[in-house]
């Protein structure tokens, strides 16, 4: 009702202080002294409405002034936060911090484990690859010098190559020993022949020390057997020369 009347009143002429001063109520009848009460009531109502409207307007203006004042001051002057609010926010922040820290720690663990695993595998792979490469290179070198006809290396696996390497090493060792024995025997023969031809040229201690003799006689035997067994196991194409040495060495040492 009041609001409706306020709207209509904005169109009507509003009561002013002068209006109030000029109000003249009609005298009542002799029977009933004083002003006509209906008139008084109407004026009072209008005044009440106007006052109400003014109060509302004042409140709105006060809010507006505060807002403008706050803008002038730069910031809203806040109430200091209550102890309770500070505690609640602090514990919320701590909870959040702990979750973040846990997530980071988890991420750290997972990545460092993954990295360790990765590095381990790479290291193993590199070591394996290094070993395989080295074995293959050695085998290839041996094959190239000892066995030019060795066919399709592609079909050989590492184990075969390693067997070949071991065999070739033993073969080389046996050759060395045989050759040494042969040369020593040859030297001894030469000395003997020289002695026959010109005995005075020989040093007085003509017989060789027994150690040297025994070495010459005994040592070639075991490598010789190794060599023999190897040639049996896997006769290489270089057989003829090797056997030639073996035969001569054998004959020399037996003489």
């Amino acid at each position: 009702m009041t609001s409706g009347q306020n709207e209509t009143e904005t169109n009507e002429r509003r009561p002013t202080p002068a209006d109030l001063q000029s109000v003249r109520f009609t005298r009542a009848t002799m029977m009933k002294p004083g002003y006509v009460d209906t008139e008084v009531d109407r004026v009072m109502n209008r005044m009440a409405e106007e006052l109400g409207r003014l109060y509302a307007e004042k409140a709105a203006l006060r809010d507006q002034v505060r807002a403008l004042q706050a803008q002038v001051d730069g910031t809203v002057v806040p109430e200091p936060p209550s102890e309770q609010a500070v505690r609640i926010l602090a514990s919320a922040q701590l909870t959040a911090d702990n979750y973040v820290a846990e997530a980071e720690e988890f991420s750290r663990q997972v990545t460092s484990e993954a990295r360790a695993e990765y590095e381990q595998r790479v290291r193993e792979a590199r070591e394996n690859a290094g070993g395989i490469l080295q074995a293959a290179q050695e085998a290839a070198a041996k094959l190239a010098e000892g066995r030019p006809v060795a066919a399709d290396p592609g079909t050989r696996n590492v184990q075969e190559l390693e067997e070949q390497v071991a065999y070739l090493k033993a073969f080389g060792q046996a050759c060395r020993v045989q050759l040494k024995a042969y040369l020593e025997a040859l030297l001894s023969d030469v000395e003997a022949e020289w002695g026959h031809a010109d005995p005075v040229a020989l040093p007085p201690a003509a017989p060789r020390p027994p150690a040297q003799r025994s070495r010459r006689d005994e040592e070639p035997a075991p490598p010789s057997t190794t060599f023999e067994s190897n040639t049996v196991a896997d006769p290489p194409p270089a057989d003829s020369t090797a056997n030639g040495i073996a035969v001569r060495a054998g004959s020399a040492s037996s003489s």
Binding site: P78, R108, T111
Partner: protein
């Protein structure tokens, strides 16, 4: 200002450990909610740093000569966080509330002392920030290339959108939208170029939020924010001595920048670079270093590996390898890398007889989120 009383009061707050900074930030965010967005989600490191910084200030409050430059640096550096002059009174009010909260014998005189001291600190910081306004508070930079090198290293090419000045060997703080409000320091691996490009080397630290994101999530087209450059690993302008550069791991980046500087600006000098990694496989920038040695006859690069027995490279800690190749007595020396490596190398060179005045070094520590008072840098 009653300095002894202020120190006693600060000690009470400091004795509570995490409680006082926790109270301070909660108070600040409740009374000024707009400040919350200036901080990262997790406040744990922030709290440590706040009271460490305050402790420094309180310790030096009667020695303004050393305090003022620190405050000026802090004030300039805070611009990139979006700090405005209007934020300083808010921080001051919350600081006083915190100091009062943890002191049973709080007095109005104490409040007055702190208030005065804080006004001095704030005005120095605000003044320094305002003096720096001819520079942007931060620079936006586009990621033009992102090259993964191995499982945890990336080399980024970034271009600031506006002019960005720095010296070779300095470090740049940077932030990515993927990890808002976390700033980390990286050292460009090139001298300033006419096209403005910066080469940034990043190693993903296990569990490191920013480094992991820069290596694994950031890509071409993303935008980074750069703060102003800091750091003091730099060539002496008055010297043209031959150089010995020693890098451990990601310490390589500033050394490349110095080499680039010598190549571009001279003066002509011999440069020998030694770079140490744990394994040969970790050497992430070999191709570009080979290009540099091919182009520059005055440069040699020697790699050392400390945990890789199969490698045919030099074996051992990089400092040890350097000493095996000496003598270096006439050189100017720069050393950068992890703390243990820098310490080891510098002490070996000192024993070798290189004077301290010709050794400059910088520790590249993982994940330290900002400069300390001494201006240390993270990778």
């Amino acid at each position: 200002m009653d300095i002894p009383a202020m120190r006693a009061n600060f000690a009470k707050a400091g004795a509570t450990g995490d409680e006082a900074p926790l109270y301070f930030y909660s108070h600040l965010f409740l009374s000024h909610p707009e400040t919350r967005a200036m901080f990262p989600v997790s406040m744990a490191h922030q709290r440590d740093r706040l009271f460490a910084a305050l402790g420094d200030v309180v310790a030096r409050v009667d020695d303004l000569g050393s305090l003022v430059p620190i405050l000026q640096q802090l004030g300039r550096d805070h611009r990139k966080f979006g700090t405005l002059a209007a934020h300083y009174p808010a921080v001051g009010a919350s600081l006083l509330a915190t100091l009062e909260h943890f002191d049973d014998e709080w007095t109005p005189e104490l409040a007055k002392s702190w208030s005065e001291a804080y006004d001095v600190v704030a005005s120095v910081m605000i003044q320094a920030a305002e003096d720096a306004t001819e520079q942007p508070a931060w620079w936006e930079a586009d990621v033009l290339a992102h090259d993964r090198r191995g499982i945890d290293v990336a080399v980024l090419q970034v271009r600031p959108r506006t002019r960005y000045d720095y010296l070779p060997g300095q470090s740049v703080s940077l932030e990515t939208d993927v990890r808002p409000r976390l700033w980390r320091y990286y050292s460009p691996a090139n001298a300033p170029r006419t096209d403005g490009l910066l080469e940034i080397h990043v190693k993903a630290r296990d569990g490191g939020p920013v480094s992991s994101a820069l290596v694994r999530r950031v890509g071409v087209g993303d935008v980074l924010r750069l703060g102003p450059p800091i750091g003091h690993l730099a060539l002496r302008q008055d010297s043209d001595r031959d150089l010995l550069l020693v890098a451990g791991g990601m310490g390589l980046a500033p050394m490349k920048a110095i080499i680039d500087q010598v190549a571009r600006a001279g003066p002509a000098r011999r440069v020998d670079l030694y770079v140490g990694f744990r394994t040969e496989e970790q050497i992430y920038d070999r191709a570009d270093l080979r290009r540099l040695t091919d182009e520059n006859p005055w440069l040699t690069v020697t790699f050392a590996v400390s945990e890789d027995k199969i490698s045919s490279l030099e074996q051992g800690e990089v400092g040890d390898v350097v000493l095996r190749h000496g003598p270096w007595l006439s050189r100017e020396v720069c050393v950068a890398g992890p703390a243990a490596m820098v310490e080891d190398t510098v002490s070996r060179l000192r024993q070798h007889g290189v004077p301290d005045s010709r050794i400059s070094s910088e520790v590249f520590a993982p994940s330290r989120p900002g400069p300390s008072v001494d201006g240390e840098v993270t990778e």
